[in-house]
């Protein structure tokens, strides 16, 4: 098994589920201080469930782009070190702030992931893992622009949403194009479809060239 330290399959009384330890967020299942991490709701949980090697280890620094209301980033922050959570929308930010208030290593930033110069004065260099889950056209461009934060040998954990690039095109064609674009600055290590939990999403694990 390749689960990061701090992430385990635990028995919640209705079968074993992926879980992390920490302050509960919202109405999720909790057992013995462990919070269920639902692969149907979280793309990163779906990646772990597929045994992808995300490179998350305790003490790592993480930059998370597209944190939304913070459910996924809260699980990540509970197993790693300093975690920077970028989200552009004001509405989910209120919830993200609540989640971050309970976690001294989670730093919320209301910023546009397409403009890293607006948060490069806050987010430190040599990040271990860059997680990207942004529903915007130009997802490869976002990954290129944020590559400057990653250390050599660090990991890009990307969930490509085909419909954000082009709703009319065949998802496989979109994935091929995004990956070809990524390969100019990243070396692709693994890919996996996130169907059926996340339709038309492809997980990509890469490292900077």
């Amino acid at each position: 098994m390749s689960l990061p330290e701090g992430v385990e399959y635990r028995d919640f009384g209705d079968g074993t589920r992926l879980a992390t330890k920490g302050e509960p967020v919202g109405a999720e299942a909790v057992s013995d201080g462990w919070r269920a991490w639902d692969p149907r709701r979280s793309k990163v949980a779906a990646m772990l469930d597929r045994e992808l090697k995300l490179g998350l280890s305790s003490g790592d620094t993480v930059l998370y782009l597209g944190a939304a209301a913070g459910t996924t980033v809260s699980h990540i922050a509970d197993v790693v070190g300093p975690t920077y959570a970028v989200e552009f929308a004001a509405r989910p930010m209120r919830e993200l702030v609540r989640v971050a208030t309970d976690r001294s290593n989670l730093f919320p930033l209301l910023k546009d992931a397409r403009e890293p110069e607006t948060y490069a004065h806050v987010v430190e260099a040599d990040i271990d893992v860059l997680v990207q889950d942004v529903a915007t056209r130009g997802q490869a461009t976002v990954a290129h622009r944020n590559r400057e934060f990653l250390r050599d040998g660090g990991r890009l954990v990307l969930a490509i949403k085909a419909r954000s690039e082009d709703v009319t095109a065949d998802p496989d064609t979109v994935f091929d194009q995004v990956i070809a674009d990524l390969e100019s600055t990243y070396e692709i290590l693994e890919t996996a479809s996130l169907d059926p939990q996340h339709a038309d999403h492809l997980a990509v694990i890469a490292t900077p060239r």
């Binding site: 509405r91 490069a120 806050v122 709703v167």
Partner: protein, 277 residues
Amino acid sequence: MTNEGWFAGLDPGDQAAGAAAIRSGRADQPADWPALAVEAGFADDASEYYDRLHAAAITAAEEAARERSRAPDQQLVHAVRSMDDCSRLANELAERVTEWAGSYFADTGAGLDSVRDLAARDPDDAVEARIISVARRVDDLLTERDELRVYLENETPTVAPNLAALAGPVLAARLIALAGSLETLAKKPSGTVQVLGAEDALFAHLEGRASAPKHGVIFTHPAVRETAPEQRGSAARALAGKLSIAARIDHYSGDYRPELESDLDDRIERIRGRSTE
């Protein structure tokens, strides 16, 4: 651009200044900020640095989110959605109470007017008391809907003068709501503005199940609705083009340009003229 961290030149105890620096600062590249902050004396060690960053980042995110959600265009978005909700709820509840009243009273009609008549009655027994009370809720919802419309008619022109003049205040607010904000509306191509509110039809078209929608919510505009069906696509395209320009002026400059209206009238007249040739 300088390459300094958010903490440069700050008093470590001044959380408000830290939040302001996080919100408005920039840097060309990231750096080892925790080490640099310790070196600069901003914190004794990395752990203290992260505590200060945490406090300032939470404040900055809260302030920035609140500021954005209190923006005037967001009040129009909530008001127009509330107006539509009041309308939908009133109709739904009116249907229920009409059915109930029809089964109990000898003389009730159908429609919202009959519900308002019902609301004005005095009950004679416990059942009538309930029926009439429900009818009064419908009446209240209709009153609120009308007041929200008046609010939109007053407020939209102050937030988006050109868009309100061209589209009418309610349609202008509805377009802003569909786009999410005045800024996102201003950044949309006019072809998108043309079909805002017709997303189902648009996706059916993109999947090859239908022809392209000619118009979305702008169908309610007289320039489209009162144009002959065979010219409506052209009228919708012309209107959407002018609405996009209006939204951009409202977002980027904000001054009122009356000539936009006469431009639109000319275009629509020319389009309608083509059918008689």
